[in-house]
Each structure stands twice: as structure tokens, then as C-alpha cells.
């Protein structure tokens, strides 16, 4: 079958359209990178589009030299690791426990869990409860409330139920208890699923700015995304330069004159986005699988 002339042209048009789409996704990052690597005052004159015209690392020196930013990074990394590992563990345990169909009260527990997906108390009663538990202004407000994800649990449950029961039964005949079955059969078989769910959980933690903005007032507890959110509306550089921990940078006042709010902003946002850009290509094969499994009715 030969492709007709019209179809050939159509394919070229599609390729051009999709290329434009890719450019529209990638270009903003390239542009922000160029601005962040360019002298601030020079960039403000305009005309920097693709690569820096007056190359400098001063923006990054200031951003990475800032105690608040470094600390917020630590908070983000900490909550991402603890929240992801803990979340996967709780989710896996609950899903495994519920995968036993003969479990007494199983359907009651399932309804108890499902109901929370349909109705919630809303933001304010949730906040009051966090306050009553003493979680406001602690690191654990990032971890505990989201530790058990109902959605991930149902995806995991569905996955475990797809594992041939014969495998589990033969292990039981060999005298293996549920804990051993979990670690020696279920976990090795669910690695791709755990990777996908772990990826989504980790990205959720990395990107969350809300908890840091409204459940925490201590500046030494805010994550990077909340710092970014505060800086977004900043009118001057005091958020980044104001503290006394930038003596070194301040000392170089001749260079500092050329620093602009925009160039600093762009370097902070690049610093927060780079880890995701770096790990993204390696994790791709996992998340598509995760989405597809999650989409099937549980």
C-alpha cells in the first residue's frame, strides 16, 4: 500500500505540530536557565532568549549560599525520603492485609476506607485537628496526614490480588507466615508497582507548598516549594539577601549591583526543578505502568 501524497503531507504537518508542542514544553526551562546564568542587569535589558549573553554564576552562588534556601532544601529532601518510604510501607501493609479474602470484617474495613474518598470534613476541621494533635509547626505535619494514601492502597490491593494465589498457598504449605510471604513473595513481585507509587508519592512531597505555607509559620521548617511561593510575590531581594548570613555575597557589592530579583528567582526555580529534570528520564518506564494500573477500577 503506498501512502498517498495527501497523507504524506498530513504526516509532515503532524510532525511539525508535535515538534512545536515539544518546543513549548522545553523552551521555558531553557529560557529560565539562560536568565539564571546571565548577569541580572544585562538580562533586564532584554534580548536573552536561548543562552546567556553575559555569563555569570553569581546568581547561583547567592542562592546556594543562602542559609534559608539550603535549609529549606534539607526539609524537602527529608520529607520526601521519610514520606515516601513510610507511605509505601503503610500502603503496602494495609493492601497486603486486605488481600486476604477470608479476613473477618474485611468488607466493613473496606467500606470504612472507601468512605473517606467520597466525603471529607474539609480544610478547616482538618486544620483544627492538626492543631489539636500539636502537629502545627512541626516537621511531622508534612509526614503523618498523608502517610496512608487510600488511592495508592486500592491500586496496590488490585495488583496484589492479581498475583497467582497458588504461589501464596504453596508458601503457606511450607509453613511461611504472612510476614514472610509479604517479604519473600509479594515485595519482589510488586517492585515495578512500588516504584511507580513511590515515584508519585515522592513527586507529591517534592512539589507540595501548601502545608509549608499554611500549617507552618516557623521559617526554619518551610520546604523549597513554600520558599518559592513566598519569593514569587516578593517585591525586592530582602527575602534572599536580607539575612546576615550572606556577608560574603554582600561584600562583593560591585557585582551585587547587577543582581536582579528576576535573575535570582530564575536560579532558585532552576535549583528546585533540576532534580526532577535529572531523574525524569530514568523513571519514565515506571509511571506509565502506574497510571494504567491505577485507572482500572479497583
Amino acid at each position: 500500500m503506498k501512502a498517498s501524497r495527501g497523507e504524506k503531507i498530513a504526516e509532515y504537518i503532524i510532525i511539525i505540530l508535535l515538534s512545536l508542542l515539544c518546543v513549548s514544553v522545553l523552551y521555558p526551562f531553557l529560557y529560565m536557565l539562560a536568565i539564571s546564568l546571565n548577569d541580572g542587569a544585562d538580562a533586564a535589558k532584554g534580548g536573552v532568549y536561548l543562552w546567556p549573553r553575559s555569563f555569570t554564576l553569581i546568581n547561583y552562588e547567592i542562592v546556594l549560599g543562602n542559609e534559608t534556601i539550603r535549609h529549606s532544601y534539607l526539609i524537602t529532601v527529608g520529607r520526601t525520603i521519610i514520606g515516601t518510604v513510610g507511605g509505601l510501607l503503610v500502603t503496602l501493609l494495609v493492601a497486603f492485609g486486605l488481600s486476604y479474602r477470608g479476613l473477618p470484617l474485611r468488607s466493613m474495613i473496606l467500606s470504612y476506607i472507601l468512605l473517606t474518598m467520597l466525603f471529607s470534613g474539609g480544610l478547616v476541621p482538618f486544620y483544627i485537628q492538626l492543631n489539636n494533635l500539636g502537629l502545627i509547626n512541626t516537621f511531622w505535619v508534612y509526614i503523618l496526614p498523608g502517610l496512608f494514601s487510600v488511592w495508592n492502597m486500592f491500586v496496590m490491593l488490585k495488583f496484589i490480588q492479581g498475583i497467582p494465589e497458588a504461589l501464596i498457598e504453596s508458601a503457606e504449605l511450607d509453613g511461611a507466615g504472612p510476614v514472610r510471604i509479604l517479604w519473600q513473595i509479594i515485595v519482589p513481585l510488586s517492585k515495578p508497582m512500588l516504584a511507580a507509587l513511590g515515584l508519585f508519592t515522592a513527586v507529591g512531597h517534592w512539589n507540595d507548598w501548601f502545608a509549608g505555607a499554611f500549617f507552618v509559620t516557623k521559617q526554619n521548617l518551610i520546604p523549597v516549594q513554600t520558599f518559592l511561593q513566598q519569593l514569587l510575590a516578593a517585591q525586592d531581594l530582602s527575602a534572599v539577601l536580607g539575612s546576615n548570613n550572606n556577608q560574603e555575597a554582600l561584600a562583593r557589592s560591585s557585582q551585587l549591583q547587577n543582581i536582579t530579583l528576576m535573575s535570582i528567582k530564575m536560579s532558585v526555580v532552576m535549583v528546585s526543578a533540576l532534580p526532577i529534570l535529572c531523574v525524569y528520564p530514568f523513571l519514565q518506564k515506571y509511571f506509565v505502568k502506574g497510571v494504567l494500573l491505577g485507572s482500572v477500577k479497583g
Partner: protein, 297 residues
């Protein structure tokens, strides 16, 4: 009975953390809804607060509340109208690409924005649209036009929200459709070709009918979200200049509740919106049962 429960003691132990966490962070807040009918101050016990009848529901007479509801519906309906067909269209386009390497590349790139926060998106918008030195205004200036204050204007707010939403999620939302397309029997296309059907006819008579079940599921699942507009997206873009069109239910609750301390009133607003979404979810489920023969749960 007790023997049976003892037999499953390990399983119960594994389930327990989940049950406790839901109790603490979902069920107690549900009981906390009584704040909507009470005169509550933070720092005191909910249970000891005095009943206030429907005093907290006076927001229903507040003209500002009506604006907030209108804003919410306006944005969510617009987002739905643009955001629902876009991934279907994109999936159809991607499917027509015959070069596998290019196809994979387009997929990877188009999924990427989903992994960045709305804060990062707000920064991108700022770098492109800001008044002094934003890329778009640089071009407007070069073309001899007057710079436009995109981020500080009420009329540009909705287009910006819609467009940035499309930019962030369209690629990601193609995943389900592309997966559905791969399950279509290739023989259907072969026999269509033999009968002389062109590409467009194949799309219309084979591909689209093939993904129709997926389209209907996605459609049904998106109905409940029609009354919520993601606060994540709106809040970073909100300022005093666009407040009149940007204020939605979630930001209204946030401002009155957490920022100004009207806990009772904000809980009442939240209760109302939770009830509406519950009704939407349940009726959507009924609808799905009628159409597909099975519910969502």
C-alpha cells in the same frame, strides 16, 4: 469467630496503622464539621463550644459569595471544555506518527510538565509575562506596542489559567487514550485499507470508536471535579488586581478560615461544597451504572 480473628492477627496488625491514620485525619475532621453550627474559637474544644444555629451560614446572603461561586463554575467549566478534548486530539496526533523514536520523544516531553509544581508554572508565567522584561512584553515592545500587564489584570486571568492548565496536563492525560489505542485490533485497519478507506476515515470509524469506552470513563470521572478548581493552581497567580475573577471556593475558605479565623463560617462553606461534590459523585456513579452496566465502585 475469635479463633478466626486470632488466625488473622498479623493481617489485622498490618491494617491497623491505616485505620488509625484515617480515623485521626479523616474521621475526626468529619466530626469536626459541627464547627459549622457552633461558635468556635481556636484553642478551645469543639465539643465544649456553644451551638450557634445557622449563624455561620449568613455567607449565603453575602454578594461576594455569589461571585465566588460564579468564578468557580466559570473557571472549572472552561477548564473542562478545553481540557477534556485536548488530550484526545493529542493522542490521535501522536498515534499517527510512524517514526517510533520521534513518537517516544514526543510522549516523554509531553508528560514532563505534569511533574512540576504549580509554583514552578507560576515562575514560568512570570518570566514570560511580567511587565518589565517579560519575554512576551519584549516582543510587544519590539513590535511597537504597549506592554500588557498580563499577571495583574482581571481579563487575562482566565486565559492564563486555562492555557497553563493545558500546558501542564494535556500530555499526561493522553496516557490512558494511547493505551486504549494500542488495544485496537490492527486487522481492523488492514481491512479498512483494503476497502480503500483513507486515514481520516480510519480515525473516524476505527480509532475513535475504539477509544470511546475510555472517553466515557474519563468524562464520567471528571464530573465531580466540576465544582472544584485546584487551589494549587489559582493561589500562586492570585493578586489584588485579578482578585475579582480569581477568588474561588477553595481560596474563599482558606482566606476566611485559616487566615482570618472565621472557623465556623469557613467550615460551613466547606460543608456545602463537600455535600455538592458528594451528590455529584453518587449521581455520577448511578449514571455510570445505567450507561456502562457497572458503577465506579
Amino acid at each position: 469467630m475469635f479463633n478466626k480473628i486470632y488466625k488473622y492477627r498479623w493481617q489485622y496488625l498490618m491494617i491497623l496503622p491505616g485505620v488509625v491514620l484515617l480515623f485521626l485525619f479523616s474521621y475526626i475532621p468529619m466530626a469536626g464539621i459541627q464547627v459549622a453550627f457552633k461558635d468556635f474559637q481556636i484553642g478551645t474544644s469543639i465539643w465544649d463550644s456553644t451551638w450557634a444555629g445557622l449563624d455561620n451560614f449568613t455567607f449565603l446572603e453575602d454578594p461576594q459569595f455569589l461571585t465566588v461561586v460564579q468564578n468557580t463554575l466559570y473557571i472549572s467549566v472552561l477548564k473542562f471544555i478545553c481540557g477534556f478534548p485536548a488530550p484526545i486530539l493529542l493522542a490521535l496526533l501522536i498515534n499517527e506518527v510512524t517514526r517510533p523514536a520521534f513518537k517516544r520523544f514526543v510522549q516523554s516531553v509531553s508528560y514532563l510538565p505534569h511533574f512540576f509544581s504549580w509554583i514552578v508554572v507560576a515562575y514560568i508565567l512570570q518570566s514570560f509575562l511580567t511587565l518589565d522584561g517579560g519575554l512576551v512584553n519584549q516582543f510587544i515592545g519590539q513590535a511597537g506596542g504597549e506592554p500588557v500587564f498580563f499577571l495583574g489584570s482581571a481579563e487575562w486571568f482566565r486565559p492564563i489559567v486555562i492555557f497553563s492548565g493545558l500546558w501542564k496536563e494535556t500530555g499526561w492525560n493522553t496516557i490512558l487514550y494511547l493505551a486504549a489505542i494500542t488495544t485496537i485490533d490492527p486487522q481492523l485497519y488492514e481491512s479498512a485499507k483494503v476497502e480503500g478507506a483513507g486515514k481520516l476515515a480510519q480515525i473516524r470509524h476505527i480509532t475513535i470508536p475504539g477509544i470511546l469506552p475510555t472517553i466515557s470513563i474519563v468524562l464520567i470521572l471528571s464530573i465531580p471535579s466540576l465544582i472544584t478548581v485546584g487551589m494549587d493552581q489559582i493561589y500562586p497567580l492570585m493578586n489584588s488586581a485579578n482578585h475579582s475573577v480569581a477568588d474561588v471556593l477553595d481560596t474563599y475558605i482558606l482566606r476566611n478560615g485559616l487566615q482570618q479565623g472565621y472557623f465556623g463560617m469557613a467550615t460551613a462553606v466547606g460543608l456545602l461544597s463537600s455535600l455538592i461534590s458528594l451528590i455529584l459523585v453518587v449521581s455520577t456513579n448511578q449514571l455510570s451504572r445505567k450507561l456502562n452496566g457497572e458503577g465506579l465502585w
